[in-house]
Each structure stands twice: as C-alpha cells, then as structure tokens.
Symmetry: C2
Subunit: 330 residues, 2 copies
Amino acid sequence: MPLLESRPELELVVWPEDRACDRSWLLENIPGATGVIVMLTDKVNPELLDKAGPSLRVVSTMSVGYEHVDLAAAAQRGLKVGYTPDVLTDAVADLSVMLALMAGRNGGIGVSLVQNGEWPNFSWAPFGFCGPQLSTTAASPTRKIGFLGFGRIAQATLARLVPFGITHCLYSSNPSSPPNHQRDTDLAKKYNLKAVSKVNVDELARESDVLFVLAPGGQGTYHVINEGLLRKMKKTSILVNASRGTLVDSDALAKALKEGWIWGAGLDVVEGEPNVTIDHPLVKEPRCVIVPHIASATLETRRDMATRAAQNLVAAILGGDMPAQVDLSA
Amino acid sequence: MPLLESRPELELVVWPEDRACDRSWLLENIPGATGVIVMLTDKVNPELLDKAGPSLRVVSTMSVGYEHVDLAAAAQRGLKVGYTPDVLTDAVADLSVMLALMAGRNGGIGVSLVQNGEWPNFSWAPFGFCGPQLSTTAASPTRKIGFLGFGRIAQATLARLVPFGITHCLYSSNPSSPPNHQRDTDLAKKYNLKAVSKVNVDELARESDVLFVLAPGGQGTYHVINEGLLRKMKKTSILVNASRGTLVDSDALAKALKEGWIWGAGLDVVEGEPNVTIDHPLVKEPRCVIVPHIASATLETRRDMATRAAQNLVAAILGGDMPAQVDLSA
C-alpha cells in the first residue's frame, strides 16, 4: 500500500476487507480501471475484462500461479499480465518439507490425539506411532525423492532435503521441455547424489520414497495423480501436493490411503477448496495431513508478493519494466 | 527378538504386549534375572534392582536417555548399564525440523481447522495464516538458530537447517564442558555460517529465532526454560523441545504463548506426560504444537534401537564389548 499510495498519479479503489474480494464488489468497481491487482481467488475472465472496458491495461496477480487468468482473453485485449514468481519459492519449499515430514511421522494424527486429550490413553510402545523415516540410516541407506514438475520450487525443496541423506532425485516435467543433462549432472555433483534423472511418470511413481507434486495447475496437469499412478507407488511412500488441488484425483488418493497403496499424504491444496468439509474422503483418512493452502503464508513472503504485485501494476501503467510479466505471445 | 532368540544360552521372559510394561508384571518376573531390557517408562530404582537380586549383571535401556535409571544404585551393585545413542539421532533431528516448521507455519492450527470442517469458512486472504518464515529471504536475510544442548542431535538438526539459509548458530551447553573453538570454527566453515558461538542462556534466549531444546533431562536441567528466560525471547521466535518435558516450565510457556512473548512452540515432550489432557495449559494454546513423544518413532530407528538394546544385553552377559555403555565411574 505505501508503494501504491506514493504515486499520486494513481487513484486507488481498495477492497476494504482482509479476505478474498466479493465478486459483485469487483464487477461493480472495475469499470474504467486502468489496472487491477487480483488474487488467485479472483477469476479473470471475459466477463470481468469486458466490465473493466478498454481503459484496462494490466492485470497483476498476487500469486505465482495464473490459471485463474484467461490469458487468451487478456492477450486479445492487448493487456499485460503480471505475477509473483521467485519471491514465494522458499516459503513453499519450507512447507513442502514440513508436509513430507508430517505425513511420514504421524504429524497430523499426533497433533489431533493430543488436542483431543487422548495422550493419557497411549502408553509409550516400542513401535507406537512409527512411520517411514525421511532420513537415511545405516541399515536403510537409500532415499529416492521424486518431483512431478522440476521448477524453482522443486529445486529449492530438493536442496532442503540433501542433509537428510537423500541419495536419488527423480523428476518428470513437461514432456515438451527438452532434457537438461548438464543441469542434472551439475545438481548431482553439487549435492553429492547418486543421480538426478528425468523419468516418465510411471517410473516416478514406482521409485519415489517421497513424491512432491510441484507443477502448474490447469488442464494439462488435471488429475495427473490418478488411481493408475497411485497403484504403482511403494507402500511406504509419501505423496506431497503443494501446487494445485486439480493435479490430484481426491477419490483415488483417499482409496490409496484407505487400502494402503501408499503410506501417507501431505496436502496444502485440495480440488474444490475451500469447500472441503468433514465428509470429504481425504479429511476422513487419518494418514492424510491437510493444511488450508498456506504454502506461501509467511509474513516475509506475503509482503514480498504484495510488493511485487504493486510493482508490476505501477510499471505497466506508469512505465518501466514489470519485474515479472507473463509471456502472452503464445 | 531374532537376535536374542539365536542365543540358546539365554532364557527369555518377554512382556507380551506392545505397550509399556506393567510395573507389577516387571517386579514379579525380574527376580533371578541376569539382565533386563527396559524402556524409558520403566523406573530402574533400588526397589527393582533389589527384586532382581544378585544375579543381575546388566540393565539395557532401549532409549538414548537414562534419567529413569538410578545410576548410583546400579554402580553400587556393580551392574553394567547399556543405552542406545547415535541410532536415533537422525529420527529426532527430522522431528525437530518438523516441529520448528509446524510451530512457525500454523501446522497445528491448519490441520485442526481442516479436520474440524472449518476450511469453507476461511477465504484466502493476503495475510491469512501467516507466521515467521524459517528460510531467509532477500528482505530478511538473517536467521539465528539456538541450541540448548549441542550434542549429536543438535548438530544433526543444525545440518538440516543449513539449506534454509540460516546464518548464525548459537548454543549453550553444560557449563563444565570446555569451549571447543576449533570445532565451532570448522562447523561455521563447513556450513558457510557467519558464526557458530557458545553463549550463555540469556544471550541464547535473546538472539535465537528458533531455539531448540536438545539437552539431557534430570535435575541439572529442570525447568531451565522458565519465565525469566522466555521473557527475553523475541516475539517472533519459536521454541522446540524434543528432549525431555522437565526442561520446560509448562505454565511459563503457556503464559509466554498467551501473552505473545514468543510466536509459537513445537513440543515432542511435556512434563508429566502422558497425563496431558485438554485442560493442560499448553494444550489450550493454539500456537503450541504438541505431538506425543514420537521423536524416535520411525520403523527404521526403533528397529535399530531394539537391536542395539539386545546387543548391549548379550555382550554384557555372554562377553564382548557393549556397543554403548553408560560410564558409571563418576
């Protein structure tokens, strides 16, 4: 806000509440706007853009994802679209590590049990509350970490896992993006791993001890984690999704957990969120740890994201390079 | 068990349930025993040792801590005492990192909210569910990590935090143990930290962004984390205890959380556990994440601990070096 308020050329119209903007308020206030800052809860579609009218020059989203923005419609209207990559990489990587640990180590079950006053009923037992260990041990010296999507966040997550003794990194990424053998060799050397390898999703499912889903949302990745893939995973494996709920078929994952195809799951996102109630099949699974889409929720990162969104807007309207602009040329 | 069963010289008497042994059963079955394997829930005091009688030669505990064993009484009777250090270092370090992340990132609150079906009531908000970020950022480039106790587990935890961008490591340890400047310099160089410094507990409290309590239990460390120390900590700081509940004054910590002296806490242990009910002052604090003493609870580590406890027992009775023997010479 100070950054925007410091530009007297801008007339600001601000949604006054600390929650997602009401659609009706947005539609009512956007006509004649030169630019708009939105969040991933605001659908930027032809309806909204038409309401704004020909004055609109920029849509700046305070998010790294932009599947809520109709890029074709924006391009047709000659708009610029800004987003906030990079600044949330570390916050999301931190949370991905947290979810991997919680899903393997009974993080959700343990917290609930103490919260519900059930600890006195549980005596310490030699194999009580045991789950698979993220770190390697002398008797269990191999850990293969898989990434579906191998961009900035995945690589930042990989870096955090190195001191846990992981030995192999596998990843699958956009089939149209060419392999990058040199980068992979460099990463393996830097982190002293036995291998960093691009594999197909079947091998990724079969081999990963922990599988992180860190790819963009949208139609191209819809339900890429489905029943067929989950059935190929190890019984002791962990699935983490800190990208978008649409990548994972919730019913298939609930079945996988109930029937023990995999050990546990840690989810920051669920398809259809926030409409996830106690009747949701994943909420009913004790080995499914779910947090309410907080991967970028740190004081430091949200401030950086807000700053970046404001900078994108100001640059697009008043001139200068936008710090992060979505390429609409395709 | 296979390791013990493979020695026909040993007659085994085994508590048949997968929970802590009933005291009465133990007292009834120990007379005439040559050795006993115990857990930290079994108090090894003169009562038990006298019941065993002069045949007893070894007490082998399946734990890294041995504050439940009366060492003076064991020494008087000429017993050997075995324990299981090292093999649980990595599991406890993993959990310490998990608790630090959960306490900072609303891990407990987030899980409970989704479990209770409240997610639909929470719209995404720019600063919703935000907490302090463990990783450094460009705008927040310093992270000081403190350790009360700087043994194997603390150092393994430190190693795991390096890729999060931490910059300083502070520690306090047994005042009678001499400073180890060379080790500290080597660690700082190895991990590219600005400093690894031994400090007094007041400075530790004042400077740490995350303070890990990883020191032994017993009288020497009783309530070392008390109101005076908690008042010195930063408002954005996190306290993690994965050692013994007795090191932390629960009432003082509850007050610190309620009044915002610190940001949050992650506890694997609570004084008086497992008698920790919904009326416990720490259970009532939303920013206090508690798991039920599961720091070593992984399949890999508990198997290793059991193996080590059996090896200690066998060596003490049948000859050979005990892999890990408590020094009773003091």
